[in-house]
Structure formats: structure tokens, C-alpha cells
């Protein structure tokens, strides 16, 4: 089991203390961690889910466009975009909880660039209790 870069270790430690929901992925988009506040939004404890590749967690956490209501493709997921574009991404999405309830979530995703300019992963903060977006 290889050690993760210190920047990711410290990000997890920060996330574990925040009341803001936070979700952390590695350089290929693989799920590394989400905190207790994010557990409350997602409806799953992190220990139930553990580490999953990008395609697997996008399937496990059903995400929809806030405007069209259609399922989000992987490349539309804010965290995947932040990694791909190496720039911050802010977006509004809808998440379907395990009990079927759909909640509106604003997501701010940022790439985590380590020393030497290497992309180490990305972190996303969820903003919940946002007003429902009306279809255009």
C-alpha cells in the first residue's frame, strides 16, 4: 500500500475537521475520502463506500444536471472537469440520495497542484440548501 503525497494527507486531515462537506479524489479521479459533513449529504458513510475509481463512484452517487435533469456524464462531473482542465470548476447539480430524494447541490471543485506542478488530485466542496434551479 503506497503512501499518498503529503498534500493529500494534509487535505484529508483538514477535511476531517471541517463542517463543510468535502470530497477528495486522486489524480485519476479515484475517490480517496469524504468527510462526515459530506456523508450527511450523500447518505453513505465513507467506510461503507471506501476507495472507488471515478467511473464507479459516479455510478454509485447518481448525479444529474440541475438544468436538464439528465444524468451527468463522467466528463461533466465538476471534480472530473477540475482534473481535466486543471482549473477550478463551479457548478450546480442534483444528487439522488439512497432514499430516492433529489437534492440540489452547488459544487466547487479545485485541482490540487503539488510542488513541481504535478496534479495530485482534486477536492470538492458541496454547498447544500441552495435554491432549486429553474429550467431555462
Amino acid at each position: 500500500m503506497a503512501q499518498l503525497p503529503l498534500e493529500l494527507i494534509l487535505t484529508r486531515q483538514l477535511a476531517s475537521y471541517l463542517a463543510t462537506p468535502m470530497f477528495l479524489v486522486g489524480p485519476a479521479g479515484e475517490l480517496l475520502f469524504y468527510n462526515e459533513a459530506a456523508e450527511a449529504v450523500l447518505g453513505y458513510r465513507f467506510d461503507e463506500v471506501v476507495e472507488l475509481p471515478l467511473a464507479a463512484w459516479v455510478q454509485a452517487f447518481p448525479l444529474f444536471s440541475a438544468t436538464s435533469g439528465q444524468p451527468l456524464a463522467i466528463e461533466e462531473v465538476p471534480l472530473a472537469r477540475a482534473l481535466q482542465e486543471r482549473s477550478p470548476v463551479h457548478g450546480s447539480i442534483v444528487y439522488q440520495r439512497p432514499d430516492g430524494e433529489r437534492v440540489a447541490v452547488d459544487v466547487t471543485a479545485i485541482p490540487l497542484i503539488g510542488q513541481g506542478g504535478k496534479t495530485l488530485g482534486a477536492a470538492a466542496i458541496f454547498w447544500v440548501d441552495v435554491p432549486e434551479k429553474q429550467p431555462a
Binding site: 500500500m1 503512501q3 503529503l6 498534500e7 494527507i9 476531517s16
Partner: protein, 277 residues
Amino acid sequence: MRIEIWGSRGSLASPGPRTLRYGGNTATVLVVGENGEHLILDAGTGIRPLGLTMPPHLPRVDILITHLHMDHLQGLGFFGPIYRSDIDVHVWGPPSITMSLHTRISRYLSPPLFPVRMRDMPCRLELHDVQPYMRIGNLRVRTDLVCHPGPTVGYRITNADGRSVAYLPDHEPALGVSTFPPSPNWMSGYDLMHRADLLIHDAQYTDEEYPSHVGWGHSATGHLAALATLAEVKRLAPFHHDPGHADEELDVLRADLAERTPAVEVLPGAEGARFDL
């Protein structure tokens, strides 16, 4: 590979009758490779007496700095060989996000903090930002960032026979961790330490002292026992002793550590200690 401790004190040099056996000089460790490589880990106050013993015609010395806190840098300007014109001195250490190692060290080695500027030192001086994997002579050097305030690295030096020493003098892997130790992939410094033949590691605080020093960048005895066991190191030298800890207290700390790590040989991390790998 030979390893010698020339300074094992943390934070501030602490000479005096209470520190005679473990020593009062700050972090300095000499590593001598089979082919005569001379690596010095950190330039604390122990580097001054070390400099007095260096072979007179040594062509090259490499100084590997973990970070730029004064107890790891203060001796650099007092290292005799830098005033020789026939020696190559290579100084390695971590850059910050915006400044090279050269720029960072120049802030100390220049007036008003120090009378001699780096450019006026007679030796052939080269400063290098550390890389994750380096080679110095026949020694392989691995570096990685570790949990400590400011840019800080640890080192693992491996000889041609695969023997290794890991050096993490300032390290607080327990910071923010609810249950210590975490799994290896979430442990700061794990890859540097894993199955090292000798680990020289921060042991600044007792378990009772740590709660009032959280975030200062150091470890307590319990953390060290847990991480040495998790990393399956063979031998452990507790290091970076608190300036307030007298010899007798360090004896107790070492005995406590040995009791908690039955699979690890705990050696005295004392000035004058020598280890052969």
C-alpha cells in the same frame, strides 16, 4: 555505511551539566558511504565540531538540509570546510513554492544575520533544490515532504547493498489524525521509513507534554512507538530531544519507547553515537 550523530538536540542548543551524555548540539548527522561519500544531514550546531574532523583533502561534501528552521541551519556558516578553496560543497534542501533553496538560505547567510555572504565563501559552493530521487556517489537518496510547519523533507539513504537509514528529525504525523497510527497510505513519511535498517526520528515530547504542543511539528513517545512498529523499522534512534529534557529524563523516555516497541531495537540517539549498517 557509517552513521554518526554530532548533534541530537532539537529547537535550541542546550549545553550544560544536565545534557552531558545526550549532548547539547542541534541536529547534525554524518553518513559516510563505502566509497567515501560524505553526507551531512542538517547543519545544526553539531556541524562545527564535525567540520574540525573532516579529512583534510576530502574533495566533496554534501549537506542535506531537511528544512530551514534555525536549529537545522545555524551551524552552516561555522562549518570549517566551506572556507577551503579546494572542496566542492553541495547543499541540498527544499525550496518553497516561490523561492529556490539558494534564495531562502541567502536570507540567513548574509548581513545582518551573518557577516559572510555565500558568494564570498571560498569553497566551490552549489545549492540544489531536492528532487524525489537523487544519487550521490553510490548512495541513493529518496526525499519526500513530511508533516512539519513550512517546507520540510525527510531523507532515506540507501547504499549499494540495500541498507538504509531514514532521517525524519522534525515530524508530526499525528497532527489532525483522530486514531493514530493511520493506515500506511495515509501516514506522513511512511515510504521513507518503511523497513529502514535505522530510523532516526523526532522524539521531542513525552505523551504528557504533547497535548500542549499540538501543531508545533513534533512527535511524542507514543507516536514514535506506533509509527516505528507500523513501518517495521529494525533499529530506532530517538532524536531532536527537547532542550528541557535532561539526560536522566531521556533515559526514561528511551526505556519507555523500548518497552512499547518489542520488535524494534531502540538505540540512544545521543551525540557521539555511531552506527554501522
